[in-house]
Symmetry: D2
Subunit: 161 residues, 4 copies
């Protein structure tokens, strides 16, 4: 479970960031751990889902491996809150791509009707790096279609998270 | 699934690191994802397990939140490989603690008899930060017992991973 | 992963069943196992989520334990397919309740726009038994509010699945 | 989380059962749910792991699908308890096989040194059915090697769980 309370400053700084693409995800009953909050590990499942959902929806089938990931936990999540994942590409190389990711909660009850338009809170920020590989697991240039899908969600500032 | 192949240099650099404490963990059948490798998310479950196992075994019951974590993926893992997690404390503050973590595979078959003494390979390095909190989720100084457990696995170099 | 192919008859028999309540759930990238299908274990996560979502949405806070569960796998699911879980109460005792559950896939892509109204397929049927307990874990009569929530989704035929 | 308390009779009846094969498994920190017990869903992960570990250790590579599974929860498990899974084949058909499974806890702390020889408690009993399939997902006869692996753990009484 993430840290609550001391990170107001950090949260304000990052809340202003605009993510070019968002994905709506559900939490699950057993995401919650013994402390009644979504276990820290599942934040990475949210990132993994959001990144792969965008690639699949864009028709990308090229094999990729995760090279790095990171997460800063700002506020706790709790089932049945829905999650909104904001994401954008911060660096687009020949075979690798870096994402900045923001994980938001909504005050609305997930079951009653899903995310509301207002009042979302930034609960975590993350980074995620994919490397595209060939059949032997060696880095290989991205296909046109892959690159186009990633260019489409490039972040304005271009800075790393 | 993690990146295979290009990171030989990084792996050699980190392989020499000595972790003061190790924990033996199992992989599970459904840790493997559609690519037949342990999904990247579960590396954080290994870190979470290793850190909490050490705390529980040391008698620590103080509430803590995860503030940050990160992972660099160096080589793929695959069920039924067992995992050895090396860990050490790199920074010990008043209410927070940072760990450096190494995740190793063993060539031996987990089922046949567990880890062998030789031939282990560094598959990932990670960092993990806990903040100890009071009942309201505010950072609070570590108890004596907590601090002692963490001092016991402090890394010699004291540097962050 | 579930059995594909041989169970056409069983599927036809059960597809006609009307579930009084349905819940829409997402699959996740790492629900898929090494065979590229949703791992059999996660069908129980879908049941657990559906049952608990209904209870939480109904305001039920009484502690309950799972006493029994079962699943018959009829057709494979695969991320990113969304899942619709149909459920109804088949037996309502003093402290325990039995559910019949049907897990359906939709041909529509979950990411593109969620479940369509037609073409859903029954992928699994399940049973799930909760026992309401007191603080010591002993069976205790359901509260009025709990009973009302369960009566509301009682199945017409009243038969066990 | 499973039912505690009322099932002493059932537990005594089943505790006497002798399983021809046992597998030692670990629990994980985030197996625990909001009630501080291993979530009911993970009992099926233990079954899945035990069955597949035996098959992999026996050299079986034939594709199989899970057709049915079930679990009766008798007593709660809690991380960091280790788990012992007892298993045996109760029915061996041409293309399908049924297992009876018992999930046991040990009083010993998993971290301190693993399962002790005495004092184990039956926490759940389960059933698990695999169907061996061809490339198109149609039931296909088991290979010699598969059948031999399953014959080796056939239960004396031959009865279904």
């Amino acid at each position: 479970m993430p840290l609550a309370g001391i990170t107001a400053v950090r949260r304000l700084c990052t809340a202003a960031r605009q993510y070019p693409h968002t994905v709506q995800l559900q939490t699950r009953w057993n995401d919650n751990d013994a402390f009644g909050h979504v276990n820290n590990v599942f934040y990475y499942a949210f990132m993994d889902d959001a990144v792969n959902a965008h690639l699949i929806a864009s028709g990308v089938q090229q094999t990729r491996f995760v090279a790095e990931s990171s997460c800063r936990y700002l506020a706790p999540l709790q089932y049945p809150q829905p999650v909104e994942v904001g994401m954008g590409v911060t660096r687009l190389g020949r075979s690798s791509v870096s994402y900045a990711i923001g994980i938001y909660s909504h005050p609305a009850n997930a079951i009653a009707g899903g995310p509301t338009s207002g009042g979302r809170e930034l609960c975590a920020t993350g980074t995620f790096v994919h490397v595209y590989v060939d059949g032997a697991g060696r880095p290989t240039p991205m296909a046109e279609c892959t690159r186009a899908a990633l260019e489409a969600i490039r972040m304005d500032d271009g800075s790393d998270a």
